[in-house]
Symmetry: C2
Subunit: 102 residues, 2 copies
């Protein structure tokens, strides 16, 4: 069956994260934390997976001694997200494009 | 966070099954098998979960000695599917409804 859903993006929290990052130039850790209502550990784990997949770029800096982490969606992440929504749209349209039942 | 995705429906094969059943009066086992490209065991397992959740109704009959199984989406299944697509739409719209980053 064509249009497989990217399982990395299919996880609801990661779908939310990528969708949010697709709408901003850059999002920092606290912004995502507040917007998503996840725990820090959960958010870190999801960002790590998205980073390893090449879907987000991570930039760590320090404000004095306070670490600050910014995230951006990469072109690959943007494409994967667009493909994901297209695949979901195709599923949604299954309802109206069924073969005849014999 | 509101609009949690129903995990039972979130599984891609089950999302396809429910979406297909929402577009037909009744679908039999072979029709779903051919449309979805799943194995018989996989399809049975998914239908069993959807049945237990009350999202589909199962009707088993015999044509002579040949068993025949029909499935229909229930009103509860139709509502759950509509809620699922609404929740997904809400995620998709996150992109355009972000809080200001401080």
């Amino acid at each position: 069956m064509s249009g497989e859903l990217d399982r990395l993006i299919h996880e609801p929290a990661r779908l939310r994260i990528l969708t949010i990052l697709s709408g901003v130039d850059v999002g920092d850790f606290n912004f995502l934390l507040n917007t998503l209502g996840l725990t820090k550990g959960n958010l870190s784990s999801h960002m790590d997976k998205l980073d390893k997949a090449g879907y987000v770029a991570v930039n760590k800096t320090f404000n004095g001694r306070v670490p600050h982490t910014d995230f951006r969606i990469t072109p690959e992440g943007r494409q994967a997200l667009a493909d994901y929504w297209s695949a979901l749209d195709a599923i949604r349209q299954l309802r109206d494009n069924l073969p005849e039942e014999e």
